[in-house]
């Protein structure tokens, strides 16, 4: 699979070692393998989108990287350190947001941030308080900082989770569904925070919101049924995986037009749909350049037809994601 070969070529061309690197990472629970020989490479300062349907193994992978769970087979390194032997050293440089963030309800948001920082820093106290205040402002919780967490809404808890993940200025942020409980404004805010943080941190995050992934991610990996089925820069993935399809609406006798278009060696298929005296053609092509330069001209040269509409279909990550997942499901 060419997208997987990317990992090897990327590693050899990149001077820095990957921030996360897994080799043959496996995890089984009671005899059921939920993660199968995962080979991931997450480059420094990238925003790495980790995608997959529910139960694909995304959270399991995250837990393995954090030392919350142990691999059955294989190995993984974060910052070049082994996840089994050097977990504490790794965790000192990580900020983590869980899928459903939970905290001690009796503490306030400020106390929780103070508690978090207490694992990382010993002082000075006033600087720690300044850091807490800045972080609360960043996520818009400064006005609710001194209320017990049990009084916060789901979205506010999520924002607190994001604050906690980044308050230590980690080198790596691991976010498990960071925008899951947020409204559209909250989602946008999270994406903005991620953009800001990428200047000095690597962001590894799992999500179901593919629109967000397309907006901010540099690289994506797709996991299905515990197996890595794609890993590539987002543009590359879209280019490789997406079929190039043109939609053309014709008036008049379309049979001739269909025949001529179908006969081109860069056209792989033509589907026609007739309605109200108009014919809509879905033309799938194999060579983008040839299609761009010749398709419309070819159609215009056909006698007795009129081209009413001509457009290229926009393929987004969701289409690619669905296609990859369905293909791998069919392979199984």
């Amino acid at each position: 699979m060419s997208t997987q070969i990317y990992a090897e070529t990327y590693a050899s061309s990149e001077e820095d070692k990957p921030i996360i690197e897994t080799r043959g990472l496996c995890k089984s629970f009671n005899g059921t393998t939920v993660l199968k020989y995962l080979n991931l490479r997450v480059p420094k300062n990238s925003i790495f989108g980790f995608l997959g349907p529910n139960g694909a193994g995304k959270t399991t992978t995250i837990k393995l990287l954090l030392g919350l769970s142990y691999p059955t087979e294989g190995e993984a390194k974060v910052f070049g350190k082994d996840i089994k032997r050097e977990s504490i050293v790794i965790r000192r440089r990580i900020g983590y947001l869980a899928q459903n963030p939970v905290f001690y309800d009796h503490l306030t948001a400020r106390e929780t941030l103070r508690y978090k920082l207490g694992f990382f820093f010993k002082g000075p106290r006033d600087r720690i308080e300044v850091r807490i205040q800045e972080t609360l402002q960043l996520v818009g919780l400064d006005d609710k900082a001194d209320r017990p967490i049990k009084g916060l809404s789901g979205g506010e808890r999520q924002r607190l989770g994001i604050a906690l993940a980044q308050v230590t200025s980690p080198d790596l942020l691991i976010l498990d569904e960071p925008a899951a409980n947020l409204d559209p404004m909250g989602r946008r805010h999270v994406l903005e925070i991620m953009e800001k943080l990428r200047e000095h941190a690597t962001i590894f995050y799992s999500t179901h919101i593919l629109d967000d992934v397309q907006k901010v991610s540099d690289i994506v990996a797709i996991l299905n049924k515990g197996r890595l089925v794609a890993q590539a820069p987002i543009e590359e993935l879209l280019k490789e995986r997406a079929s190039i399809i043109y939609t053309v609406v014709l008036e008049g006798s379309s049979d001739e037009a269909q025949k001529i278009v179908q006969s081109q060696d860069w056209v792989s298929s033509v589907e026609a749909l007739e309605k109200n005296g108009r014919t809509t053609l879905q033309i799938t092509v194999t060579e983008e350049k040839k299609a761009e330069s010749s398709l419309l001209r070819t159609l215009m040269s056909v006698p007795n037809i009129q081209v009413n509409e001509f457009s290229r279909n926009k393929v987004d990550l969701e289409d690619v994601f669905m296609k990859i997942v369905e293909d791998t499901n069919n392979d199984d």
Partner: protein
């Protein structure tokens, strides 16, 4: 900005102090400590104070023999310490495992050993305060009143030490069960069964294995009553066994928690 803050270094007990601070804050928040203090005082010393007060008001100060009051005091205090420890610690690990807070805490640079030890230390200190430090002076006054004269202080302190060890046995026992089981029900079931059946177990197994009953923790509160009356302890075996068991239970809790997955 990171450079402005002083970073902590990694040790085998990374995160212990920070965790202990938060665990202590649960125990020592005014509402909790007041509730606990009142509950323990009521369930232990009030029960002894009540009949003594009634007898005093009736002018029958010596009606209840001292040995009986002493046995009630050590008996009730030991039951309170055992059940109190089990109840207070049954959810300390399981609750955090189930809610997900353990996973959140452990995603920070904190060792699992620190996690267990912070729970152990904070709960031990809390239970010792409400169960021993708070009960001992009141109990001493009541027992001295019943005795008709002040009890010798050192034997009484040694007796409290034995009861503290008895509580520590149940604290570590429940903590260990919390690392082995995933439900509060299982922990409560096993722990309360042990509290209730240890005399029976001592008789049954003690009939087969000689000396078995002397390693059971209930010998400690029986010993405490003897020490207060300045009688010699029949054996130091219960003390050695309880001390050894607390170490074993703590070791198992740490070992098992280090293997746990979140």
């Amino acid at each position: 900005m990171t450079t402005e803050l002083h970073t902590l270094s990694e040790t085998k007990l990374s995160g212990f102090r920070n965790m202990l601070k938060i665990e202590n804050s649960r125990w020592w928040n005014p509402r909790n400590i007041l509730t606990q203090s009142l509950a323990w005082l009521t369930s232990v010393n009030f029960i002894i104070a009540l009949p003594l007060t009634v007898a005093h008001m009736r002018g029958e100060a010596g009606a209840i023999p001292f040995t009986e009051v002493l046995n009630i005091f050590t008996g009730i205090l030991s039951v309170a310490l055992a059940l109190g420890s089990v109840i207070l610690l049954q959810g300390t690990l399981v609750g955090e495992k189930q809610s997900g807070t353990a996973a959140w805490v452990l995603s920070n640079p904190v060792t699992r050993t620190s996690f267990i030890l912070a729970k152990l230390v904070s709960n031990t200190v809390g239970i010792m305060f409400v169960g021993i430090l708070l009960q001992a002076p009141v109990g001493y006054i009541l027992l001295s009143y019943s005795n008709g004269e002040a009890l010798p202080i050192y034997p009484f302190m040694i007796a409290m030490g034995l009861l503290a060890l008895y509580a520590l046995f149940y604290i570590t026992f429940t903590l260990m069960l919390g690392s082995l089981f995933d439900t509060r029900r299982s922990i409560l079931g096993v722990a309360i069964m042990f509290v209730a059946l240890q005399d029976f177990l001592g008789d049954v197994i003690g009939g087969v294995i000689k000396g078995f009953s002397s390693i059971l923790p209930n010998r400690l509160y029986e010993g405490a009553a003897l020490v207060i009356t300045e009688s010699p302890l029949p054996s130091i075996m219960p003390i050695a066994a309880a001390a050894l068991f607390t170490i074993i239970f703590t070791g198992i809790a740490i070992w098992r928690f280090n293997k746990a997955e979140f």
